[in-house]
Amino acid sequence: MHNVMTIARRELRGYFDSPIAYIVIVTFLLVAGWMYFSALFLMDRADMRAFFSPSPFSPSMLLVILAPAITMRLIAEERKSGTIELLTTLPIRDIEVVLGKFAAALGLVCTALALTLVYAISVALMGSLDWGPVVAGYVGTLLFSATLLGAGLWISAMTKNQIIAFIVGFIICAVLYFVYWLQFFMPQALAPLVEFISVSSHLDNLARGVIDSRDVIFYLTLTAGSLILATRALSRQHA
């Protein structure tokens, strides 16, 4: 655990020493905030469902692009620069490397999400905000982010080219996210399957304020799965 934290701290510092962290945070606050508030006054209802549920320019949709952008360099860059040899000859386990990098990426998203609490507080000041669904929305978005970041990290562990890591990671995230809207063009029989694999349908449930264990387990399983795959990709050469 100590090693995980050491690696996470280094990566997190790397994010904040470069423009990446600020781009992610500003994009989150501006784009998602602007879309949300322009809808808020039209709907005239003090809730944050529109903020959390999958819709154009919602945080979740932004994450489809931002998550692979955050994770693309995590392992690919180590492969490219050769530092992977340094890292993997230290007496640490591969899973600790993966978890540390994952924690840093999640930490960055958490920071960006935490700053959007300003919106929740402003809404609470304007009307009576029901905090239950807001908490569920944050929990859901975090789980959702973890899933996308895990997938991105896995792809980053398989290549030394950051561009490839980004594009492939983006495609995976986009398919998992947008497949929900494509189900209308698919045979009826596939509908339950599509609804199950779609990361957005599960988020929609949570955004409504319902913390259903099925949705939580869905995200946790996907995240754990991709982290295991990332570890295997990292240790391919020496395990």
Binding site: G14, I84, E85, T88, I92
Partner: protein, 321 residues
């Protein structure tokens, strides 16, 4: 301290390392020598657990590297080829990061890092971004990084590559200094480096071990000097090759005499392998006078580690042989 037992690493059809065995005892400074792509780096990567062998085993302090990778890695300090470092970190932060992952306890860590930085000449660069360092300083950071946990064994892959002559001397001095208290395995394709720093040489070629001895013995194996001479009988007299060969073999410092081609009709050539401090050329001359023959050519060819290296890694004789 280190043992390789039939180490093999194949990448598809390429046999990067193809059955290498050796042992290194505590306190030795061993140089891995070989042409580029001979398998030096791969061998080191197998010893440090970065790669897993296709076959065979590597042991560090008696620990099987493939089976108990982390435990074995705690015993080793490793400088990978080209000193890959995190360019976005400052020198001291980076060393702290490595010390942290190496489990160097926090009390006394600062002192320890300070000592290492002093030893590696990094005191003036503690707050510099690694990405802006010169090649020489990068190598020093790489060395410092390998030493933070006070390992008994240092594995250094081409520690002086890409450095200028002054830096090479500095790093060599540092390695010599380290060699007094630690076991060091270093790789290089610079021969003088081996003679300057190592107590033992392992020559690797095409993934195989072709020699394993002290630098002196490897040079001496071909004698320290080779003398070539060509003689002719006076006034066309026919020479007795066997008699001359015996006469030359009896000279002081001469270990072997072999006949070689002369320079045409009526001439004979010999190659004398000599060792020891005496130069047998004066004796050769007097012998020639005593035997009443004409000396057409007499010169000394120096045999260096370079010749041995060339002979072993090319698979054919020393040039001029």
């Amino acid at each position: 301290m280190v043992e390789a037992r039939g180490l093999k690493k194949h990448f598809g059809q390429t046999r990067a390392v193809d059955g290498v065995s050796f042992t290194v005892s505590r306190g030795e400074v061993v140089g891995f020598l070989g042409p580029n792509a001979a398998g030096k780096t791969t061998t080191m990567r197998l010893l440090t657990g970065f790669l897993r062998p296709t076959d065979g085993q590597a042991f560090v302090s008696g620990i099987d590297v493939a089976r108990e990778r982390q435990l074995a890695q705690t015993k080793v300090g490793y400088l990978p080829e080209n000193a890959p470092l995190y360019d976005d970190m400052m020198v001291l932060d980076f060393l702290n990061f490595v010390a942290d992952l190496r489990g160097v306890p926090a009390p006394g860590r600062n002192n320890r890092l300070r000592q290492i930085c002093e030893r590696c000449g990094l005191m003036t660069r503690l707050g510099t971004d690694i990405g802006t360092l010169s090649k020489g300083y990068r190598q020093r950071v790489g060395l410092a990084q390998a030493m933070v946990h006070e390992p008994d064994l240092l594995i250094l892959d081409e520690p002086t590559s890409g450095l200028d002559p002054n830096q090479i001397v500095e790093i060599r001095e540092l390695i010599k200094d380290l060699g007094r208290e630690k076991t060091v395995i270093l790789s290089t394709h610079i021969l003088q480096e081996v003679t300057a720093t190592c107590s033992r040489v392992i020559i690797i070629n095409d993934g195989r071990l072709v020699a394993d001895d002290t630098p002196e013995a490897l040079t001496d194996r071909d004698a320290t000097a080779v003398i070539r001479l060509v003689v002719r009988g006076k006034n066309g007299a026919v020479l007795d090759a066997l008699k001359l060969q015996q006469a030359f073999a009896g000279l002081r410092g001469v270990r072997a005499v072999e006949p070689i081609d002369g320079e045409g009709e009526g001439t004979l050539g010999f190659r004398l392998r000599a060792s020891g401090p005496e130069d047998p050329r004066a004796d050769v001359f007097s012998t020639a006078v005593a035997q009443n023959i004409v000396l057409l050519d007499l010169h000394r060819e120096r045999v260096s580690l370079e010749d041995t290296f060339r002979r072993l890694t090319r698979g054919h004789g020393v040039p001029n042989a």
